[in-house]
């Protein structure tokens, strides 16, 4: 059978760096091809070559698409032939409706006048196809990320897609939404649409992919065929990093001390809808040297709990007490929370964690400028020394501390954010999805850092949607659902099944 797409010997050079070196990739008709590799392995570059972001001529090699040469000048050129990319950062207009977004730039119109009737009829059709149960009039801004993703896919189908490329589509989705998306891909496959799925979530890949192409350092390492027997995750990881990751979680002998932080009856209301309770009577304890996990589904109130504890940066009508070292502390503003010894590492490091236009040094000291100043005057030599110290300790890969953080990879950006918070000398670190969008190798480094924090006698409260990560790292796990803590497991008793059972059992208790 003739493949849909064949990329042969693709090489792409940027000044000084060979980003792609003789890459080969084929997509068979109606198959799901997974493209995996660490950040920087060249996945995105390869997809940009394919879609014409890098026009024909700016790279070496051949592309054959549907039996004809696929030399695209730009994105619209490749879209005309049915290749559609859905990027990680969604490209929807928030204040336009679902229907308007689906047909944006592709409106059924006559002489420039949009045929509203057709727009809605077609939009309903497409929405039904992707399983989006909303009115076509709903503004996209009112949809959650999962549904926005579905709008993107509906938009792709409207363009008569034949080859759908999804760049980390489930990175910010809850498990239910991810599952729905994967089912959708399988349905497309049944209808004869081929797709390329880029993802870091190896369990998903192992489940839906027909074949897996692994990129490493800009070259194709191998293509694994899953149709003749399942491929396990360790096999994929081995191909990605070029060696076996003996243990995905570094070992730690916990030395747990006294109670460090105690939260009682913590209740938070929604910032806009004051009658909605987002966090309900939560109580938690955290000891010195302890890593405590908070498991739960997307929207269970974990981030809201963390941010409300951190200087009321979320919500209103907050009630409850926080004690650190037995004394009640004032966490009513962020600077007071920092002074009380709390640090919060956000789940969204680009939007909320870093000033991307500024360099590593300036980001490192931002939350504790007095630490490098005398009488409000910054001592740049001290600042440089501090930042360089963290850069070495955290193994931040950059050409110095004056590199802008926008140019760093996800893992290195996260290390800068961690440096910033460590420099405030916190007693308690709240880590919100600390490894989101970070590749396997860098994850291990982040885990090691988290372990070191605990070994220093700090308390770590870790929120994560990746259950294996919580199970691998935490001494104790709280399970959160619908704003309440519904279960607590010591390490020995915790398992994915136990956590899921606790969540399911508690469903609907709030009526």
């Amino acid at each position: 059978m003739q493949p849909v797409l064949e990329m042969r010997g693709i090489s792409k050079t940027f000044p000084g760096v060979k980003a792609l070196d003789d890459v080969n990739l084929t997509v068979e008709p109606a198959e799901i091809l997974a493209l995996v590799g660490e950040n920087g392995a060249g996945k995105s570059t390869l997809m940009k070559v394919l879609s014409g972001v890098y026009p024909h001529g700016s790279y070496a090699g051949d592309i054959t698409y549907e039996g004809r040469p696929g030399h695209f000048r730009d994105i619209s050129d490749s879209e005309r032939r049915g290749i559609v990319i859905i990027h990680q950062e969604l490209a929807l207009v928030p204040y336009l409706s679902i229907a308007e977004n689906i047909f944006l730039g592709n409106e059924p119109a006559r002489f420039g006048i949009i045929d509203q009737g057709r727009v809605y009829a077609r939009a309903r059709e497409l929405m039904a196809m992707v399983g989006l149960d909303e009115s076509p009039d709903t503004l996209v801004t009112h949809l959650g990320v999962g549904k926005q993703q579905l709008v993107e896919i509906a938009k792709a189908i409207a363009k008569k897609v034949k080859l759908l490329i999804l760049d980390e589509p489930t990175a910010s989705l809850s498990e239910t939404d991810s599952e729905a998306l994967l089912q959708l891909l399988l349905r497309f496959k049944a209808r004869g649409i081929a797709s390329i799925l880029i993802s870091h979530k190896l369990n998903e890949i192992a489940r839906v992919a027909d074949r897996i192409t692994v990129l490493r350092d800009g070259t194709t390492v191998e293509t694994l065929d899953c149709r003749n027997g399942a491929i396990d995750e360790d096999r994929i990881i081995r191909a990605m990093v070029g060696r076996t990751l003996e243990n995905r979680y570094p070992v730690r002998a916990p030395r747990i001390g006294d109670v460090l932080m105690e939260v009682r009856d913590w209740t938070v209301h929604h910032p806009v809808h004051a009658d909605r309770v987002v966090v309900r009577n939560v109580g938690l304890t955290l000891r010195r040297g302890e890593i405590v996990g908070v498991a739960g589904l997307m929207g269970s109130g974990r981030t809201e709990l963390a941010m409300s504890l951190f200087g009321r940066s979320y919500g209103q009508g907050i009630r409850g007490t926080v004690r650190i070292d037995r004394a009640e502390v004032d966490v009513s503003t962020i600077d007071r929370a920092i002074a009380a010894g709390i640090a919060y590492v956000t789940e969204d490091r680009k939007q909320l964690g870093l000033v991307l236009g500024e360099d590593i040094a300036r980001n490192t000291t931002l939350a504790n400028l007095p630490g490098v100043s005398t009488a409000a005057v910054i001592d740049e030599a001290v600042e440089h020394r501090v930042a360089t110290g963290f850069r070495t300790k955290m193994r931040i890969r950059s050409f110095g501390v004056t590199q802008q953080t926008v140019n760093l990879s996800g893992g290195n950006q996260q290390k800068v954010v961690l440096s910033k918070w460590l420099f405030t000398q916190p007693k308690v670190l709240i880590l919100d999805e600390p490894t989101r969008g970070i590749d396997v190798g860098a994850k291990y480094e982040i885990y090691s850092i988290i372990n070191e924090l605990a070994e220093d006698g700090r308390g770590v409260l870790m929120i994560s949607s990746e259950m294996p990560e919580l199970l691998g790292l935490c001494d104790r796990i709280y399970v959160m659902n619908e704003g309440r803590f519904v279960a607590e497991f010591p390490r020995a008793e915790a398992s994915q099944e136990a956590i899921m059972r606790a969540i399911m059992r508690s469903k609907g208790l709030n009526g």
Partner: protein, 410 residues
């Protein structure tokens, strides 16, 4: 992930844990940030030099004559003073359109206080500065705490204070001001050391500045930080020193150093220090660069925004007084359109409309580019109509060049 991060984090053939930095390093060094940033600063100085030389030649050498040079300083001083405040406002991600009207209002207030009510000039000046700060603060309150876009708040302020200026003056022009007050704009530093006082002072200040720069560079080298090369240091400081001394030499040939120049110089140094070395300056840049990240880092962003507007108001008040002291009369047209020159100076000087970027040195050069063009074009007899056209084109060209440079840097 963009292609840039992809290419930078590539480590062909290297081991995962050690290869990254080593492989990325030489390339990154080659196009490191420091030389590029300096090139941009040089580009601005180069543009100022070209414009200056053009008018010097076109006016047959009048531009640099001591009398005209002094006039240039006097005419331009209030633009520079306000540009310092506007820089902070723009870096914080906002804009202030009201300053032209505030200049008029404070000028009128100063006239009423001193001329009509015979308030002592020093008290009146202090009072005017406070009123300026309050005006800025009130607008800042709406922007910072009520989250009304600054464009709208200050557009309203522009109308309100222009109207209040007219109401205060009742259509009359009020003057003349007490002699002491006029010294602010018309006075010159006493030539205590003979005719070369200006040169002497300039020499002292230059030596001091170079000394400070040298100390800072040595400190950076000791900390193994990024320091500019010796050649670049000598070139940059050499050019600055030469310019300052040549300028002082010309000035001493007229009446010496005007008081307002000293005020301006002190403010430029102060704001340079605040923006580059103090925590409050650093926080304003962080606020403009990413307000959410800044807030989550414990920075009280509302208070900071409020303060930048209050500061802008006080500087607009000062500029208002410099302006009326020079004209020696307050009228209701004073300050019309000043906000445009000031904002243009900031953008020509490399401040980013998106916030987070901008330098005092750039803004001062931007203000002088505007000032020299105003002065030179007037001398060449170009009508006000075409002066505006030319200034508009220069503004657009400067920002285009800036955007182009930034894109190339990435």
């Amino acid at each position: 992930m963009t292609d840039i991060t992809a290419s930078k984090s590539m480590n062909p053939g290297g081991d995962l844990f050690t290869g990254g930095a080593a492989a990325g390093e030489p390339q990154a060094r080659r196009r490191g940030r420091l030389p590029m940033a300096q090139l941009r600063a040089y580009g601005l100085i180069f543009a100022l030099a070209v414009i200056t030389l053009f008018f010097e030649v076109a006016t047959g050498g009048v531009l640099f004559q001591p009398l005209n040079l002094t006039n240039l300083i006097l005419q331009n001083s209030y633009v520079v003073v306000m540009a310092l405040g506007m820089l902070l406002v723009i870096v914080a991600g906002h804009i202030d359109l009201s300053i032209g009207s505030v200049v008029g209002f404070i000028g009128a207030l100063a006239a009423l206080l001193m001329v009509r009510f015979q308030v002592d000039p020093l008290t009146a000046t202090a009072l005017c500065l406070v009123v300026g700060a309050i005006i800025g603060g009130v607008q800042g309150y709406f922007v910072a705490y009520l989250a009304i876009p600054s464009f709208i708040v200050t557009l309203a302020g522009m109308l309100v204070f222009r109207g209040l200026t007219q109401a205060l003056l009742q259509g009359a022009s009020i003057g003349p001001f007490p002699d002491v007050f006029q010294l602010l704009s018309k006075g010159f530093l006493a030539n205590f050391a003979g005719p070369w006082t200006a040169l002497l002072i300039a020499f002292g200040v230059t030596a001091l500045l170079i000394g400070l720069n040298w100390r800072r560079r040595q400190a950076r080298i000791r900390a193994e930080g990024p320091a500019e090369s010796l050649a670049s240091f000598i070139f940059r400081n050499g050019v600055t020193a030469t310019l300052m001394l040549a300028f002082a030499y010309q000035m001493s040939a007229y009446r010496g150093l005007p008081n307002v120049l000293l005020v301006m110089f002190a403010l430029v140094m102060l704001y340079h220090f605040i923006t580059t070395r103090t925590t409050i300056g650093r926080r304003i840049y962080a606020l403009g660069g990413n307000i959410k990240a800044a807030r989550l880092s414990g920075i009280r962003t509302e208070r900071l925004t409020f303060l930048t507007f209050a500061n802008m108001g006080a500087l607009a008040g000062l500029a208002g007084m410099i302006f009326v002291a020079r004209l020696n009369t307050a009228n209701s047209k004073a300050g019309v359109g000043f906000e445009l020159d000031v904002i243009a100076a900031c953008f020509i000087g490399g401040a980013s409309a998106a916030g987070g970027i901008g330098k005092v040195s750039g803004v001062v050069i931007g203000a002088f580019i505007i000032g020299i063009m105003n002065n030179g074009m007037s001398m060449l007899g170009i009508g006000v109509d075409y002066q505006q056209v030319i200034k508009g084109v220069v503004l657009l060209a400067a920002v285009c060049l800036d955007v182009h440079n930034k894109n190339n840097r990435l």
